[in-house]
Symmetry: D2
Subunit: 318 residues, 4 copies
């Protein structure tokens, strides 16, 4: 079934860091995000092609992890229909005032406990003079510092069980699974879900610790694969830990680099080339345990820490 098209796209995420100064340095100096205001323990940061107020809310906290993931509805009506569905599913928390630039926001959790917010109203970003772009079809000047990521691309959640969460997003929000991993015992070990033409927006991966509510990684899209190779050199020079890559995922075929930001959260730099899922009747691609074991597209073995590092850290395994 085609996506319902009531969720427009991933909006922004709130990321927690126990090392706020260093994390901020990473996101601005290395990743190339632009600060757009502060509020208490949080700094609002934006990618240069984000038309909204912010792409990332970076919040000082006693530990790492993700606090909240925001989705934008396609319209006022779509928002209210989705809120009704969330309430019916019993996972709604309620309305709150939105972050700066964001209107009324409905809070809910997925079955695993990750907090989400859903909103429609969004004030388009107006760049100040020094960030005014040369081309009027772009919200902000292309930065000349760091990786210059174009957008927040997706969130990969760790969950006690993938399937109920994927089902929840399908049933309440109209997400569709484009790809998934199914173990030999039938377990869905991971699922890639999308709302529109991007081949994935939200991913669930089974948490080896059996914990709930944790984060595997958030990802930012670069314009080119060359940007990712350049990013690797910049990480190397700035003592940013590179976990694995650059390489090409077999699943979704994304070109990737995984690094840890100073707060401990895993950050993916991803480039999908021009791949889109355009077929309205896309059939979920299911990868077997054996296929997953073959590693990445060009033969790189999946690194061990990919199955042991999540945030916040927990005593493991359960």
């Amino acid at each position: 079934m085609a996506p319902l098209h009531e969720i427009a796209h991933l909006g922004h995420v709130e990321l927690l860091t126990p090392h706020p100064q260093q994390s901020l340095w990473f996101f601005t100096h290395v990743l190339g995000l632009t600060e757009n205001g502060r509020d208490g323990d949080s700094v609002y940061l934006r990618t240069w092609d984000d038309y909204e107020h912010h792409s990332l809310k970076l919040t000082a906290h006693h530990t790492s992890g993700i606090r909240r993931t925001a989705l934008r509805a396609c319209s006022e009506e779509a928002l209210h229909r989705r809120v009704a569905a969330l309430q019916q599913a019993g996972r709604g928390i309620g309305w709150i005032d939105g972050d700066p630039g964001i209107g009324p926001t409905y809070l809910f959790t997925d079955p695993d406990g990750h907090e989400f917010e859903l909103y429609w109203e969004s004030q388009w970003y107006q760049a100040p003079d020094e960030l005014r772009p040369s081309l009027k079809n772009q919200p902000q000047a292309y930065p000349s510092t760091g990786f210059s990521v174009r957008r927040l691309d997706h969130v990969n959640f760790l969950a006690q069980q993938t399937l109920p969460n994927g089902d929840f997003l399908r049933e309440t929000l109209g997400a569709e699974a484009t790809e998934q991993i199914q173990l030999d015992d039938g377990t869905i070990a991971a699922q890639w879900l999308h709302f529109n033409n991007k081949s994935y927006d939200i991913v669930y991966t089974n948490d080896w610790t059996g914990s709930r509510g944790r984060l595997h990684h958030i990802a930012f899209a670069t314009d080119t694969r060359e940007d990712i190779l350049r990013a690797a050199d910049i990480c190397l020079e700035n003592d940013v830990f590179i976990e694995t890559g650059p390489h090409k995922h077999a699943i979704q075929q994304t070109f990737f680099l995984y690094v840890y930001e100073p707060g401990g959260n895993r950050i993916e730099l991803c480039n999908p080339l021009t791949r889109l899922v355009l077929a309205p009747d896309w059939r979920t691609i299911t990868w077997t345990e054996a296929e997953r074991a073959k590693g990445q597209a060009w033969g790189l073995k999946t690194i061990e820490s990919f199955h042991t590092h999540g945030t916040p850290p927990v005593d493991q395994p359960h």
Copy 2:
């Protein structure tokens, strides 16, 4: 207003050529398309990432130009709702059997007379052994010959008047204009329309000859800008006429190369990087006559033939 999301994507086009052998050589050897059957004067050709039967139907004809443009609906119901709207608009022609791999097809024309077809049923492509891809989330093996374009990306029509055609696609099919050019006298000289996250699928440009039903170009998307630079070298070595580029459009920011295939039709190789229009409330960007006169993004003047070459050729100007 957000797109209606009843049209999934551009399906395929039928291109006419007075030099079928040479055009076929161009599309297979130079562009890297794969033949997938023949029928009378037509050869069906596909890009490697097309999940459907064909991306291009190349038909021998006494002259050049585009015969038909196919759009796929998002569902059976969407198809019928759009057909009703087309009938109501008085532009429907009627149902025909579809091309190979395509189900019942509804024929209509835009106000300028370009033929379109709309369909829902589409048989997913099954690659024969020698074209079987290594990765199961891809319909066909990535070719090692020519430019290896990923998909048919968009069609740019010449029309006597842009605006009625853009309005027609908006009203009947739910297209939205993402960008446009408005002359000082108020005329909309060109309009870029999209159905989903791609920033454009169909473009109308005012025909300087006052003719109807002509083609400015069709475009194929490459994975990278490097692919386009490599394409330029391959064109150079194969005596394929390069009209202009590589460069970056200011409008839509697409990286481009324009060449003429041996039949005379202009072909664009385009790379949008990872740019998408995700905002459901995107506001049409309007470029003024003065802004258009500034040329391309990095200052290249728009080449004169861009305003004089269309297919089929006509006596000009009126």
Copy 3:
């Protein structure tokens, strides 16, 4: 004849600017050079892969242009042999103390009057802690700001007559012409000379004003063509004037972008891919007037200002 191999490479150049603050901003913020000391009206700047003290000496002056071009000899003995040849040619000026980091330096001029310096002793650059590279086979950390050019690549001089200058570098320093343009009347209109495997280090182009000692451009090499495309965007955002490009030269096949730095000097960003002249018996490639008229490799017409803009400006034409 193979190069004599007594000149190792282009060392650094001294560039003059009437707008020293803005030029410095361009070279550090946009181009990504690193400051390495100041002296009077001059700032020393380096590319990240330069093993010597500096690649560019930027000097405040009442006008623009190039003051001096430095070449490094292959050895102490080679230096003295070349100095003897220069003295014999009657073009020597004499020994001076070198710039910071550079030992005894012999000053001379080419027939057109451009000042050169030749030296052997060179103190290898030791990066301070904050610029220490992660890889020990690299002199300085790869910068995360601006274009991150790897090296000063070549100098293109304007000269009243190309040929005597090319001959002079051949006879005194062992340069060889890899390519040249010969007009229909037999005039050598431009000549590309090299000392080693790079396909050119010094270029002479006939000055349309009949002036002596002027500069067409200096060039910095980037690692990739993508770096040049990214550079174009950074120039666009920073109001740096892009004269022409990106495109590929037919002559030498270099991928290029020409911009003007704020002092008015033309700067080329160039990428030769992995092309080298390895043949010891390379035969000078001669391009005819008609071939030159065909423009760049992929058909871009050479921009008019390429034949009218040099530094310093002069009343023209003679």
Copy 4:
């Protein structure tokens, strides 16, 4: 000490394969080499930017490995001076007629027993009509099939002991070591030698089996890193075994992909970006055992087979 500059460059190599048909398919269809004649069990193959007759002589044999490595002298005189030095070193075999296109050739072996040939006369390649390039400064048309490697880049020999072989090339041919690995016990485990501005042409690596005369790999240079990413996809689709990569070597900073051709020989696709060793007083970079253990530049662990696979295969370890 600067290189002596009597060896111009690596000419060609003769590679042995027990599967000549499949190897030929690999080198022409996948790698994009062009056949230029046959002789007995050998096929001559060329990269598109080779000005000489051939870059690779592929010979059917009962096993894999490298038979001979050809170097071109800088001049007739340089050839004779180097032959005298080789004779004096007691490693000369004698003069033979050269391969097609190559003049009188002097045969010798390095201390480990690898056969080399040295020559001066070389007939410049004249492309037949169908391979005639569009740009006259290029020997052959750029191919539109396969990886389109520009040149044979280097040879990496396995040797019982690296050091005597490196010393031999230094003393007889004027090679210089740009980088090397030194184990904690003082052993030089590998050495990278160059003759000119390329940072390496010949590499020796200690053979873990204690054998003599074997091959670690030969390498072909691509124009871009993107070419290597594309090559990985083409290998994936053509069932060419990818051993490791793409990644960036810490040593020499080369971007690489290692594959096995069907005959079993390891082939590297390499891209050095625009890195050159220009310093005439370059100091050999020595990497310690600990530094080598850190793996590649961005953290990829060196794959085990890199230390166990050489050609021809031998019973191992000694």
